[in-house]
């Protein structure tokens, strides 16, 4: 009986013949924490009697969620991370370096066939690189830092077969929003998702990250893709790790196989207050928005900023709305400066903030007011997510957000996409 990608990677890393629903203890290739989760992990590390991390080259801490610190309390937690990184010699990515899920792949810490945990739910992003990457909590992070191991329940897999080609003005964000709306917020709980098909193969690596990033929003543990020539080119450019692409066996057993034709897909928007509350653009177009956000681990990459700049070039945002742009990393920021993207966005009226998570996660950098509507390229629209439980958050692609910023209301980007 064949195996899925998840079963194969967990078999390799645990040394046993791992099948869905088995519990295994597996060796970790990389371990990451951010500033919302690392301080508690440091506390657990000390309580557990941790004396050293299993391999300092395989442990990173990223200060991205409230960076730079807006408050004294946050500063104390950041200091705790910096002190820990110094003492145990682990890698630290400090303020301005970027969002953890951009940095871990960009700095070459992940490659096909690796097993990665991150104390952040969107760690599933690296599944786009054919890595088994999943989010955990702080105590799991501490255990992983000490032992280089973690227990896993081997997930069953739902396979998404995506046929056809996305139409102009429709992007990978629209596709993943549509899939989440279809399977719902708990449709893949405890499971792995495998995304395959010509629609995936046609996407750039950057666009693929967006899809794997949101696997958690359907409850999935990982959002896996097969490695192809684009994956390998991307990995060779960013990493020196040895790697071995892992493919599902033709006779692998799936919990479910779902097939879709994407060729008629329209831009999609998730409405307040759940990510699976998804509508095609036509049903929400015209809703006024007071704030627009482009960035985050979902859609803050160079390609995303390029798409936004293409729509905003030579235009001004609506006077009754605000546009906040957070590049996903320092590298993305620099590349966007060199390409002239940042000038285009700033001339259109955007406020650029430090690469990081702030506006998405409600810590700072753009907390909306009572009753305001926000449209963002981020991955969550829960009530209160952006720091005010009386605001309303819509999610869309960078193109949809850019178009909405111009009109001051949710707008179909295809009207601007030439």
């Amino acid at each position: 009986m064949g195996k899925t990608i998840a079963e194969k990677i967990l078999s390799m890393k645990s040394g046993v013949d791992a099948r869905a629903n088995d519990i295994v203890i597996a060796d970790l290739d990389f371990v990451m924490g951010q500033d919302g989760t690392s301080p508690l992990a440091i506390q657990a590390f000390i309580e557990m009697g941790g004396l050293r991390v299993f391999d300092p080259r395989r442990v990173a801490m990223v200060i991205d969620h409230s960076a730079p610190s807006p408050l004294e309390g946050v500063s104390a937690l950041h200091k705790k991370m910096r002190d820990f990184a110094d003492r145990y010699d682990v890698m630290l990515y400090d303020i301005g370096e970027g969002v953890c899920h951009q940095l871990v792949p960009e700095k070459g810490h992940v490659a096909p066939g690796t097993l990665v945990i991150g104390a952040d739910s969107h760690t599933c992003t690296y599944g786009a690189l054919n890595a088994f990457a999943t989010g955990v909590g702080s105590t799991d992070l501490a255990a992983g830092m000490i032992s280089g191991k973690l227990w896993f329940k081997v997930p069953e897999t739902i396979k998404f077969v995506l046929h056809g080609e996305l139409p102009p003005g429709v992007f990978s964000k629209d596709l993943i929003l549509y899939l989440i709306g279809d399977v719902t917020a708990d449709g893949a709980t405890y499971m792995a998702a495998e995304y395959v098909g010509e629609a995936i193969k046609a996407l750039s690596m950057e666009a693929r990250f967006t899809i794997s990033n949101m696997a958690i929003e359907m409850g999935a543990k990982v959002g896996l893709m097969e490695a192809d020539e684009k994956t390998e080119a991307w990995v060779r450019e960013h990493s020196s790790l040895p790697y071995k692409p892992v493919f599902a066996d033709p006779d692998a057993v799936y919990a479910e196989v779902r097939e879709y034709d994407v060729s008629k897909l329209e831009p999609q928007v998730a409405k307040p207050h759940t990510v699976d509350n998804v509508s095609p653009i036509g049903e929400v177009a015209g809703i006024e928005v007071q704030q627009c956000v482009i960035g985050t681990c979902t859609n803050g990459r160079l390609e995303d900023l390029r798409i936004a700049a293409k729509i905003l070039e030579g235009k001004k945002i609506h006077p009754r709305t605000r546009l906040i742009v957070a590049p996903a990393s320092r590298q993305v920021f620099l590349d966007a400066i060199r390409e002239g993207i940042i000038s285009t966005l700033v001339e259109a009226g955007a406020a650029i903030v430090t690469p990081g998570c702030g506006p998405c996660v409600g810590t700072h950098n753009g907390v909306p007011s009572d009753g305001e509507n926000v449209i963002a390229t981020s991955n969550r629209n829960f009530k209160g997510r952006m720091g005010n439980n009386k605001a309303f958050i819509y999610l869309g692609s960078p193109a949809t957000v850019a178009a909405s910023a111009i009109a001051g209301k949710i707008s179909d980007p295809r009207e601007y996409w030439r």
């Binding site: 909590g137 255990a143 032992s147 917020a185 708990d186 409600g362 009530k383 209160g384």
Partner: protein, 166 residues
């Protein structure tokens, strides 16, 4: 061990932002302080209504969203004795076991707000004392029970030095 308290009911898909908002969780490691804001975005009065030992009772997919371990910790420090739901999201589920918060998966339609409940963790039964009914709970896998009975993953590591599946 038997737990006893009143049921506080919530719906489906209660996410970790609702359990403890990002507005608070980045500022401090003081869990008693965070506990005061538990479930605030769903019910601003929730913390003030709690009595020691009460239960959170919810629908499906409890704890979805972010990986913040402050979510189970804020619940524990609000003196809530367990969460009873139709199903749990996986990161929350791991975090709860790792921090020693008991989770019970069962048909929560059989519980009304305010019902007096008694939970027998050993037998895996939720007794609804108000309605005089017993609700069967889906058992935990043995490995997770072991971590929970050690008092969470920190205690498990203190005891065994690493993961111990035996």
């Amino acid at each position: 061990m038997n737990l006893r308290g009143k049921a506080h009911k919530f719906g489906d898909d209660v996410n970790t932002d609702y359990i403890i908002s990002g507005r608070y969780k980045f500022k401090t490691l003081d869990m008693k302080e965070l506990a005061k804001h538990v479930m605030e975005d769903l019910d601003p009065e929730f913390y003030s209504k709690l009595n020691k030992g009460d239960f959170i009772v919810a629908g499906k997919n409890f704890g979805c969203g972010s990986s913040r371990e402050q979510a189970p910790l804020a619940i524990i420090h609000a003196d809530i004795s367990a969460v009873i739901a139709k199903s749990f999201a996986r990161i929350f589920y791991r975090n709860a076991i790792n921090t020693g918060l008991p989770l019970l998966e069962c048909d929560t339609d059989l519980i009304n707000p305010g019902d007096e409940l008694e939970v027998d963790l050993g037998k895996g039964i939720v007794r609804n004392l108000t309605q005089n009914t017993d609700i069967q709970v889906k058992p935990l896998p043995p490995f997770m029970l072991k971590i929970l009975s050690d008092g969470g993953l920190v205690e498990h590591f203190k005891k065994h030095g690493t993961f111990n599946l035996e």
